[in-house]
């Protein structure tokens, strides 16, 4: 048996989810506005799902409405690269919190082009570069993985979103060229950026994402029972999510929620209760640091009501 306990089934959490949904205050914060496709999403929307270790899932609100996953996919790309090359990755990207939104570039310069962690854009570009080198088609590989884990063969790139990201992509291009100037990116940059933007554009709903994150609660075991990562590697990804998963608010997220989590500017957040379950919440209104306001509140309530914080 790949994991230890008889953890509760997803339905066990339904009443908690309903209590959270009944009390949640949506409509705070602002939808991401740097590309039109995200800006037009109503910040009032809300959905939340829990998946158990056996592939059961239940949810509340708009838990079956697809949304733009954005940075959440950085977790899956990281997992795939670790499965391919193991700890060698850490020679090219760090695993420390970045500390400050404004200094992403100065830190890159100060630290010789090695991004602080795989969840800031700079680090995710390194991860995608390595996935591309390992697989020859990074974004397709990632999509196939997400389809398999979520059990949803309909998942697809939103090419309109990807094109919109590319049209506003100068900053990511700057990061990629800057890292390349230190020798930590090996692929040609224009196609690398295409893979990166496609990766961010994948649409999933709360159920899809909670299920796809399951391997981290199962300590590395995929939905089909095969092992993607060692027990230790899976725990390490959880650790990186805890310290770096929510932009420059990881300390606050650990303080309030107490779970490994990863957010995206589409308004989604996934969280892992090791050995128990995974949670995904979605509400597009973001705070100043890019995390869903209602999403963090909902996860805060979840660990308060269930006592499932790791601390």
């Amino acid at each position: 048996m790949p994991y230890e306990h008889e953890a509760p089934k997803a339905e066990h959490y339904l009443s908690v989810l309903e209590e959270i949904a009944a009390g949640i205050r949506t409509g705070r914060g602002r939808s991401a506005d740097y590309i039109p496709a995200l800006a037009c999403v109503d910040p009032d929307r809300f959905g939340m799902a829990v998946a158990d270790l056996d592939g059961g899932v239940c949810g509340v609100g708009e838990w079956r409405t697809p949304f733009s996953t954005q940075s959440i996919t950085k977790v899956f790309a990281l997992a795939l690269v670790l499965a391919h090359e193991g700890a060698e990755l850490w020679d090219h990207v760090g695993r420390e919190p970045s500390g400050n939104p404004f200094n992403s570039l100065v830190q890159l310069e100060y630290e010789n082009g090695i991004p602080r962690n795989p969840f800031i854009n700079a680090g995710a570009l390194v991860v995608t570069d390595r996935l591309q080198t390992a697989t020859g088609d990074a974004s397709a590989d990632l999509l196939a993985f997400l389809r398999a884990e979520s059990g949803n063969p309909e998942l697809r790139f939103d090419l309109e979103v990807a094109a919109s990201e590319a049209a506003h992509g100068d900053r990511n291009a700057a990061l990629a060229h800057f890292i390349a100037s230190y020798g930590h990116i090996r692929q040609p940059i224009p196609p690398l950026l295409d893979h990166y933007f496609r990766q961010c554009s994948i649409e999933m709903d709360c159920a899809d994402l909670a299920l796809a994150t399951g391997f981290l609660a199962r300590h590395g075991v995929r939905a089909d029972g095969s092992r993607l990562l060692s027990r230790s590697e899976a725990k390490q990804i959880n650790a990186v999510m805890m310290t770096c998963g929510t932009y420059d608010a990881a300390g606050d997220f650990a303080y309030r929620v107490g779970l490994p989590g990863k957010s995206g500017v589409g308004g989604g957040i996934v969280a892992v209760v090791p050995n128990r379950c995974t949670v995904c919440v979605w509400s597009p209104g973001l705070d100043a640091r890019g995390n869903s306001v209602a999403g963090v509140d909902a996860l805060d309530a979840f660990t308060t009501l269930t006592g499932l914080s790791v601390f």
Copy 2:
């Protein structure tokens, strides 16, 4: 009963500690050298202790040799301030990782004099300032708490170390004045620094520290069964230790050890296994970021052998 499980007794961990001690490579890294009293300590020394929830403790190596606690006491000062004033503290100090050793000052400037977290020196000065305001004698209050929790009435300030810190204290004076210029320090600075240096100078051994940290594993309950902090507050301190407790290596510590922890430049580290036990390790050889090399290795081995990482 203030906590849930029948957690194992301290002796349960003795064989694991012996296995760790047998395999540990000490002598790497360098003792802190900014004050003579620390520089003369042999980096080869090693001790480790585990304390259970009921006050039992066992250890290996030099687990009964007192050493300079230094920054480890920041955890206890934080706990005492939270007990006094609760969440109001967070208006004056953040709870985000600082990101980079070099930018402590620029971050202070960029973020209007609010230190990033209570475990960098800037933040600890704010905590001591508030403890001083609340109690009138911050360092004495802290010492009394540590004596009570460790059950060791012999604990004392090392006034030679405190004087040595003061003689090399220009940088901490600079931080204190800088924060005061933004209005986040209220006490006169010279006596505040005295309290701060005395707080850092307290000598404890591994058993003392493991016992004194017990309230964080007991979710806020002190050694005598009284409650210092709410369950939620205790978890929050654990969260801050996880994301900020080991200088600019918190990400690496979470990745390798997977427990809330707090290190000091005297070579000690405390770690918390919520609801189970606390661990303290000591070995004076430090890595470039100020954490004990053998200490982190020993804690890494501890969670690997016991499976007790929170992830």
Copy 3:
């Protein structure tokens, strides 16, 4: 004869000064507001004076109204230290523009506690420290020099202003302690700050300041014909004024005015036309970078009308 040309007498410039005064727009910008004594000064006031190489002086507007010299005195302290110790000073303070207001502290940290130049506060503290070491009474020495050069024995410290600076002095205390932590300040910090604040508090009028700056136009020769600095040293101070004399606007000042100059937050600016004359203008309304708005305009007009820019 210590200097070359038959330069024109001060009266030669009177019609130009009158034209400038007739056209100047005062009332823009804001008086410095960090201490009450400066905040209450009407930003509408304006005076301007030119001194020739022989001690003649003429002016327009409120050219005989004393104002707080503030940072302008940094020029004279620098000159006195160079006269005492020569180029050795440059081992402890640089002579490069600081580049950015926000990074004074990070630069100090990045550059090992050596301030970028003698005209930022950090650098001026180093200069005062060295003057104190050389003379035993830095501020008195400076005051005596200014009285002699201006021919005005009534010059005095404004002790109310100095006290007010001290009461708001945490930031300068932070700088001093920070530099001391790198070994570039040798005097005890509290009395050093007293000297520094007294130095900044001296009141002078436009005529006093234009006359006192004369030694820089005379290539190092004092009002009484004795030599304070070598020709080369005097030119070097002019160079430092050109590249560093007007806070983070030295490039703009060189571009618009084209003369070595030094400004203060009291609204005064002195400028040097080597081998010809000196100019002092005063108007308390400051721009965002701390320079007098009408003062820079007036000097811009002066070099445009006279063609006396060094470029």
Copy 4:
């Protein structure tokens, strides 16, 4: 007559040049090594030329040996853009010293993508972008200007050097994309970089460069007597050279040399004595900040021997 004095002829300076050449210590510093074409140049080489206002020129050493102009061409591109659009340029690039090599990127971020001045790479990319917009062929336009001013129709791009720069061009690409993300670059980036690298690759000798810089000593008047820039604009370029022309050593250059100057990593430096003459020196050994060691020494000696510093 477009300029005032009867300035001396170039030959007037020959004995000074010979004295400098006799005393110069070459071989210090290192040739630029980031591209092979520069790395292979012997750091021992030395040449120096003076051009008068009438197109006379004389020199010593290897004053007729072409070398790679590199950043020196930024002065000419700036002049051409100012001639096209005047002060509107300053909405897109500043004119303040950058302060610190390490913070070029953080400053760009902090200051909303507006480079500090036209002589750092970031600012020069903005200038080339605007020249390209104005002329349709920025590098050809620049080359034509340099041929005309130097009277040397043989000047050409070194396409091997340009290709080598492009092959190591990730950092400049990063800068260009980063600025574009703030809207201050309008041309497509790959061809813009091609123009920029060609501009830097032009080979000229000391005589060519001294002659080509003549319009700045003639206050805007070209070699053929036509006016490129207003008197005021020419003075303003001199001011920007003084405060920003020698990388992060502009303060030191002003202090030692006291003339507007612009250096390049090929080892060349041009300097302007307004209304008198221009000087070009070449010696490939660079100091840590990218300026020719023997070149700065030679210019220092030039102003010491002639008294021609502007201060």
